[in-house]
């Protein structure tokens, strides 16, 4: 997986450059942490990686597809199939139970009903939530909710798991448990995990730490894996 992310402005009269030309490549199977203080531009970068937004300039290649040139509909498909979001506040749909929440990305992908619930149960087993599949989010603890959310992120077997402060709303014990799941996904399933956090401790658990400040990368510990040599494209 080769990523090149670049500049981004918002607002017309008060043009604000949040990302000042960021270039980075994340390889398949990497566990990367993007660290930065609030306002550093890490959320904007996350939106770019998650195909929620397109860069104003520059290009972003995801599995060889230039995401920056895709239509709104195609971005939806990329988000659906290639990205697995894990949010700080879980963002489960409160009206439906855990199983239905996990099924949701598959619903939009057009997976059949039978297959959906089978896969969703497997995923809930993976995060050890299979006995609570009928519970609604308000009947679950924070850690349990986040585990369901991780299962949901895995639903369509995405290329990247994009976790935005996944332990931010959890106590240290449940946070630990969630982090363990990410490690498991990374090691056992070989998933590419991008962890966005402001906490250096959490970041230190990962293979590679990219630090962002004022819309620029100020440090990158670099790729440690044995995938093809990393390519970092200049702007």
């Amino acid at each position: 997986m080769s990523n090149i992310i670049k500049r981004y402005y918002i607002g017309q009269p008060n043009e604000l450059q949040i990302l000042n030309g960021i270039s980075l490549t994340v390889h398949e199977g990497e566990f990367v942490a993007i660290v930065g203080a609030s306002g550093s531009g890490k959320s904007t970068l996350m939106n770019m990686i998650g195909a929620l937004d397109k860069p104003t300039e520059g290009s972003y290649l995801l599995n060889g597809v230039d995401v920056s040139k895709l239509s709104d509909k195609q971005l939806s498909e990329i988000r659906n199939k290639e990205i697995g979001f894990v949010f700080q506040t879980f963002n489960l749909i409160s009206r439906t139970n855990a199983l239905k929440n996990v099924e949701m990305p598959m619903l939009y992908a057009g997976v059949s009903r039978k297959e959906r619930s089978k896969r969703a149960m497997e995923l809930l087993e993976m995060v050890e939530m299979e006995d609570r599949y009928t519970h609604k989010p308000n009947e679950l603890s924070g850690g349990q909710k986040q585990r369901v959310a991780i299962a949901r992120a895995m639903a369509n077997d995405p290329s990247i798991i994009l976790a935005d402060e996944p332990t931010g709303a959890l106590d240290s014990k449940t946070g630990r448990m969630v982090m363990d799941i990410f490690h498991k996904l990374h090691k056992k399933e070989g998933k590419t995990v991008v962890l966005i956090t402001h906490s250096p401790e959490l970041a230190s658990e990962t293979e590679r730490i990219i630090t962002i400040s004022d819309g620029s990368i100020i440090s990158d510990t670099g790729y440690k894996g044995n995938a093809p040599a990393k390519e970092v494209s200049a702007e």
Binding site: M104, P105, Y108, N156
Partner: protein, 437 residues
């Protein structure tokens, strides 16, 4: 995403806000129930009026002599008729012989009043009316016992008569069976004639008028064969009719009967230089009444349907609130890969389902209203026997066309008023939506 999934989603979100959904539906419920109530009333009213008119003789044709080649009465040349031009009794007999089960003569010929002295030596006043086999039917009089005047009574000049049930009460104080009884009628000119009672009919006060002094003093008609009546009038040389009412058996189609009558007389008058026969139908008047009821029903329904727009705006309002409330959910769905179209469809489906449920509840309430009105109407009719005789039992007849149209209309309301909130939801930027509190 399948249609079924969409429905399930819509139902779950409606169920999550039951009270609010119900209140939202209220406008639709009121609108649709009003439309259904009104259309039910309209169709019922039409059927009841038609039934009542039928029993009073919409199955009536007036056959009349008219000048040939004149379309308008005012253009007529006032040609003198000769006895040969008139509609003769033999013609009518021939017509009835041709269509024995179908056509009857409804002519009536009141020849004056008379009295009868009953067993208590009291005089019972009566009107004497010359009749044919269709006269009583045409007057809405039902035979209670015995038989009607027949064409045989008329042609054979039999001294038979049919009396009213009120007359029976007035005359037979001991409750004997009046059928076969011979009564002597004292005419105004002093002569007395004896008639055999062959039948008793029910005198309808609503149609035939009530006497001012109650049942004991009421003067009701005694029907006798018109040939006898004409003789009693001193009219031994009866030439024929300028015009005559005919009734027909309702099991035949009115248009067929009309054609039969017209064709019969066209043939008879083919060789007549000046005159021919016209046939007028009471059905034409029924059509006018029908049209009036229809127009009233449609106008009031349209007014009621306007309340649907108010209901629809209510739905739109709540959908907008719902979209704002669920901004975060929309953001999550978009982040998880929901396309604009899927979000739009989700909210439009929800609006349609709200309106459709409202519509169905409205239809049920409308039908219930109809039934209640039917019960009340029947109670009123039953309390007044002279009404119930004509109107019978009112059966509520919901308009199925209106039900189908209401369902479609409430769905369209959902589409129309759901579209704007839904596209607002679909257009949301997922980043902003996810950040929304």
């Amino acid at each position: 995403m399948s249609f079924f999934e969409n429905l399930k989603m819509a139902f779950s979100s409606i169920a999550a806000n039951k009270m609010r959904s119900l209140l939202t539906m209220l406008g639709i419920i009121i609108g649709i129930s009003a439309v259904i109530t009104i259309t039910t009333l309209g169709t019922t009213l039409r059927a009841t009026v038609k039934g009542a008119l039928d029993s009073l003789g919409t199955n009536l044709f007036y056959v009349y002599l008219t000048e040939k080649n004149v379309d308008n009465y005012y253009d007529s040349y006032d040609i003198e008729t000769t006895p040969e031009d008139l509609i003769s009794m033999s013609m009518l007999e021939e017509l009835i012989a041709k269509y024995p089960d179908e056509i009857r003569i409804a002519e009536e010929n009141p020849i004056g009043s008379g009295t009868l002295r009953n067993t208590e030596k009291k005089d019972v006043p009566v009107n004497i009316v010359g009749a044919y086999d269709g006269t009583l039917d045409y007057n809405g009089c039902k035979i209670l016992a015995g038989r009607n005047i027949t064409m045989e009574d008329v042609t054979r000049k039999k001294y038979t008569c049919v009396v009213s049930h009120i007359f029976v009460k007035q005359y037979f104080k001991n409750g004997e069976n009046p059928i076969g009884h011979v009564i002597s009628i004292n005419m105004e000119n002093g002569a007395a004639y004896e008639f055999t009672i062959v039948g008793v009919y029910r005198y309808n006060t609503l149609v035939n008028g009530a006497g001012p002094n109650g049942t004991d003093e009421m003067k009701t008609p005694i029907y006798i064969p018109n040939t006898i009546a004409l003789q009693l009038q001193g009219n031994y040389y009866f030439d024929g009719f300028w015009g005559i009412p005919l009734t027909f058996n309702v099991k035949y189609d009115a248009n067929d009967v009309k054609a039969h009558i017209q064709n019969f007389f066209d043939e008879k008058y083919a060789s007549n230089k000046n005159f021919t026969i016209g046939v007028n139908s009471a059905m034409d008047e029924l059509k006018t009444i029908d049209m009036v009821i229809n127009v009233i029903t449609i106008i009031v329904s349209v007014i009621a349907a306007i309340s649907l727009i108010v209901g629809g705006v209510g739905v739109m309002n709540i959908m907008l609130v719902s979209v704002t409330e669920r901004t975060r959910e929309i953001g999550v769905r978009k982040a998880l890969g929901a396309k604009k179209r899927a979000i739009k469809r989700q909210f439009v489906t929800e609006a349609i389902i709200i309106c459709l449920i409202g519509g169905i509840i409205g239809i049920l309430i409308g039908l219930l209203n109809g039934e209640l009105i039917g019960i009340v109407a029947n109670m009123i009719i039953k309390s007044e026997p002279s009404y119930s005789e004509i109107l019978g039992n009112v059966t509520i007849q919901p308009s199925f066309g209106a039900i189908i149209i209401s369902l479609i209309f409430s769905m369209l309301t959902g589409v129309f008023f759901g579209l704007y909130p839904a596209s607002k939801a679909a257009k949301m930027n997922p980043i902003d939506a996810l950040r929304y509190d």
